[in-house]
């Protein structure tokens, strides 16, 4: 028995110790688990907070507007630029970003800005306009003349990551103290005292909520709110509350108050713009007031702080009364804490909300141009870098030209539709405008509706180019001055070409007639197909393809005879590349949409410099350009002359394809090059030739540009001679219909035309100069 009892007792004790050890183990296990869990949270907090906190979209800027006396810019254009920059019209400007206007006189305080080649300080400027250009630029305070100033550039778009996060990142020292004071006053008065959570505040909030019978006060500290936004989902559960508290304590343990506040200021959710969420005060300032945070006044800070509680409930655009009450409440709280004196608060309360119009979307105003930018960026950057590294991308876009282009393209297409009884909406268009010597893309239209980010015809529509190709044929000829000059007679009589396989090709002229012997310059100016085909065949298709390669056409070209009449499909951008070489005097240059890229910290990452390559001898290029001048003077492009003074340099070429499917015009002055295409997406006939369609868009646009100078192209080794176009022989100014043509030195005809008078007439260029400089 005793033994049994003993055994039982031993068993009992054993069971007891087993019990205890189970509890011990359980406790130890839990402790390990909890420690592990906290360590896991700690890792999360530290990893996310110290590592990259936000993915920042790339910001895309237009070219900065340069202000200097003589700059072609009207007062209204300047006002439009200031509006796009969200400068605010006031009676007398006191802060950067404000301006006043009195007719043609502006007074403005410009904003400082970091460019790739240094910082531009804020400036006090007076700008006077007269006759479509800046007549005087002076320092606003001293009144002395300034030679040059550069405004901050218009933000034309952003490249967002797929989840549409957007942010304007601020450092704490960039955040106005009035804003952080108000924020702390309203959201977390004990911010600088607590360690992440404030039990007293929670108790107070609970008590207030019980008394009010609903949630009127939240007890979360700023740190907890940050944790909630930063790491946690929006579900409401006890576990989440516990996590929030632990993580808040951990955050405070690792980081100081300023770091936490800075993160909060950039993270807090303050509104929604379609799919894009508005996070942080920096972006919210632009979203609600269209200006940087530093330019706001106290009641605007109060409004933003008031929004923290409920961006949708207090949405100032949708619920202005609620927002106003909330704002004034915040102002009162600021008075309570002596952050604001009573009079100041009363004055602030009298002011309206000052929220900008919601209709005008500042983001991605020019989707077609932005596509080109992105395209060029993808050569050097990975997609995720473009959307998350906070790059600043400086482009060549000239908003003035872009606006003008969009306007003329849409209205001209509409007129063309109604004039040709084409169903409204069927006709489409595309255009590219560049600077002649820089190869910078100033404006680009991918369709008639500029805001529509759909099919970008300027980049992606490949259409037959027709006669736009002809200058390449003529250039190939003119590069052989012993065989061809502008006065060489070409044969425009019927032609039947039989290929080796027996196929025949019988090119026809647009007017269905043959013109016999025509001087070379006229054959191009009037775009005669038969003469061009014969010339192309004589030169050899491969020689013409070689010229096209040098001009900048990189795509594969089939060596068919019809190539010389433009049986090639190119995009408007490719055509622009080709004509850029003509326009710039024989230099091929990459068409640039980007000038520089800065990293998020404003350090220069990459420059896209001006670069040129001489591919056509300047003299030969001048000859073909001269023939294109005749095209707009007396050839297929003569409708241009209506809108341009005779002494202004304009050259260009029309293009029309079979059954009038495509209407093209490529033309340039000494400053700008423009390529316009009009046609239908379904490739049906439009009833338009190059001259009755695309040329009119070009003319509408280019007649708006005020020329800076009047320079004519020139080249070394060129002489001018009077020529009788009937026989291509030497004439003089006295001959009826005689024209003055450039020749590569020594290539002018030696025989004289019958109309030329005797030795008394001075030969060559002297006559012309007499007329000019008398």
């Amino acid at each position: 028995m005793a033994r049994r009892r003993k055994q039982r007792g031993r068993r009992k004790a054993r069971r007891k110790t087993a019990h205890r050890s189970i509890w011990l183990w359980l406790f130890a296990g839990l402790a390990v688990l909890l420690t592990g869990y906290i360590a896991y949270l700690d890792f999360q907090v530290r990893h996310q907070f110290t590592g990259k906190r936000w993915s920042l979209p790339a910001r895309v800027y237009a070219r900065p507007l340069e202000l200097y006396a003589g700059q072609s810019l009207s007062a209204d254009q300047f006002a439009a630029e200031l509006q796009a920059l969200h400068y605010h019209p006031v009676r007398s400007p006191r802060k950067p970003g404000e301006y006043s206007r009195n007719a043609g006189k502006f007074h403005l305080l410009s904003r400082p800005f970091d460019f790739w080649d240094g910082s531009e300080a804020a400036q006090n400027l007076r700008v006077t306009f007269a006759g479509g250009s800046i007549s005087r630029l002076e320092d606003g305070s001293s009144g002395t003349a300034s030679s040059l100033a550069r405004l901050d550039p218009v933000l034309v778009g952003s490249f967002y990551p797929s989840h549409n996060e957007d942010r304007v990142l601020l450092q704490l020292n960039e955040v106005p103290v009035a804003l952080t004071d108000a924020l702390i006053a309203v959201e977390d008065r004990g911010f600088y005292q607590h360690h992440g959570i404030a039990p007293l505040a929670i108790a107070r909030a609970m008590w207030a909520n019980i008394r009010a019978g609903g949630v009127v006060q939240g007890g979360s500290t700023l740190t907890q709110q940050l944790v909630k936004n930063f790491f946690l989902s929006s579900e409401r559960s006890l576990l989440r509350k516990v996590n929030e508290a632990i993580m808040a304590l951990l955050l405070e343990w690792h980081y100081d108050k300023d770091e936490i506040l800075e993160a909060y200021v950039n993270e807090v959710y303050l509104g929604q713009d379609g799919k894009r969420s508005i996070n942080g005060f920096g972006l919210a300032s632009y979203f609600y007031f269209e200006r940087p945070l530093s330019e706001l006044s106290v009641e605007q800070y109060a409004l933003l702080v008031g929004l923290v509680k409920g961006p949708s409930y207090y949405n100032p655009r949708r619920h202005p009364e609620r927002a106003l009450d909330r704002r004034n409440l915040v102002l009162d709280m600021m008075v309570q804490l002596e952050l604001l004196d009573v009079q100041e608060a009363e004055r602030a309360k009298q002011r309206g909300l000052g929220v900008s119009h919601p209709g005008r979307k500042a983001i991605n105003t020019f989707p077609a141009f932005l596509e080109l930018v992105r395209h060029q960026l993808q050569r050097d950057y990975r997609d995720e870098d473009i959307t998350s590294e906070g790059l600043s991308i400086f482009t060549t876009l000239d908003p003035q030209v872009q606006w003008q282009l969009e306007q003329v393209l849409a209205s001209r297409i509409k007129t063309l539709e109604s004039g040709r009884a084409i169903k409204a909406g069927k006709l489409e268009g595309a255009a590219v405008i560049t600077s002649v010597q820089g190869g910078e893309v100033l404006a680009l239209a991918g369709g008639r509706d500029p805001g529509f980010a759909g099919f970008n015809r300027a980049l992606n529509a490949r259409r037959q180019v027709g006669s736009l190709l002809k200058p390449a044929v003529y250039l190939t000829a003119l590069e052989q001055p012993r065989r061809y000059t502008l006065a060489t007679l070409l044969d425009d009589s019927p032609l039947i070409f039989t290929a080796r396989n027996g196929d025949t090709w019988e090119p026809r002229n647009y007017d269905k007639e043959f013109h016999g012997q025509v001087p070379l310059y006229q054959a191009l100016a009037h775009s005669y197909n038969v003469a061009t085909a014969r010339l192309g065949l004589a030169l050899g298709i491969d020689a013409v393809i070689g010229t096209l390669r040098r001009l900048g056409i990189a795509q594969h070209l089939n060596p068919y005879p019809s190539l010389v009449l433009g049986a090639v499909e190119l995009s408007p951008l490719q055509v622009t590349q080709m004509y850029q070489t003509f326009a710039s005097g024989g230099f091929r240059m990459p068409l640039r949409a980007i000038t520089a890229v800065l990293a998020a910290d404003k350090s220069p990452l990459q420059r896209y410099p001006l670069s040129v390559q001489s591919v056509i001898a300047p003299a030969a290029n001048l000859l073909v350009t001269s023939a294109m001048q005749f095209a707009v003077r007396e050839g297929t492009g003569r409708a241009i002359l209506q809108s341009f003074p005779a002494e202004r340099f304009v050259a260009g070429k029309t293009g029309t394809t079979d059954d009038l499917r495509d209407s093209w015009f490529a033309g340039f002055t000494d400053e700008r090059l423009g390529v316009v295409w009009i046609g239908r997406d379904d490739n049906q006939a439009t009833g338009l030739t190059g001259s009755s369609g695309a040329l009119l868009v070009w003319r509408d646009l280019f007649s708006q540009f005020k020329p800076a100078g009047w320079s004519q192209p020139a080249a070394e080794g060129i002489e001018y001679q009077w020529i009788d176009p009937v026989n291509g022989l030497l004439a003089d100014a006295g001959c009826a219909d005689a024209v003055q043509l450039p020749f590569i030195n020594g290539s002018a005809p030696l025989d004289t035309a019958p109309c030329k008078r005797g030795e008394s007439a001075a030969p060559g260029t002297v006559e012309w100069f007499k007329g000019l400089f008398k």
Binding site: E66, Y68, A69, G70, Q71, W116, D117, G118, A145, S147, L148, S435, V436, Q437, G438, E440, G585, G586, F587, T595, P604, R607, P609, L610, S611, V612, Q613, S614, P618, Q629, F630, V632, R633, A646, E647, R648, F649, V650, A651, D670, E671, G709, W710, S711, Q712, P713, A714, A715, E716, I718, Y720, V739, Q740, L741, P742, T765, W768, F769, G771, L772
Partner: protein, 173 residues
Amino acid sequence: MKTLAGLILCCVVMLLAVQGCSTTPSTGGSRPVIEKGSPAPVTSGRPAPVAPPREQLESPVVAPQPPAVLALLEQAEQQANAGDLGSSAASLERAIRINPGSAVLWYHLATVRLAQGEALQAEQLAVKSSSLAPGNRIQQARNWKLIADARRQRGDMKGAGAAEQRARELEHR
């Protein structure tokens, strides 16, 4: 080192150069007067297309640079002297945007590119400069000298010699 010295030399002549290169050397120590604005536009009853340009005249009239361009040239010079060649080039590109037809601006850009070690592009820019200065032998000779330097930098001694020969011919014509 040699190219940097060359650049500094170029910067010294920069202010002289921007006042336009006339075929007659400036007299004595007097600084050429820089007139504001560009010359009056050529107007005549005749249409100008395909007419010979002004540069065909015996003594070319070179337009003075507008003050905005002069300011940018000064800035480009300072940036180059401070060793910031990238910014210097950017300033010159701004100047070219304002006055794209000015051969002397393209020449300066070529000198900066050469100092950056971009010999091929420097040569192309010098060719561009010459194409904008038909009849201006001084500018053309200067461009050929720069091309000679650029070719030397690339190790093309034969090409450099030929370029120098061209420069000499232009100077003594």
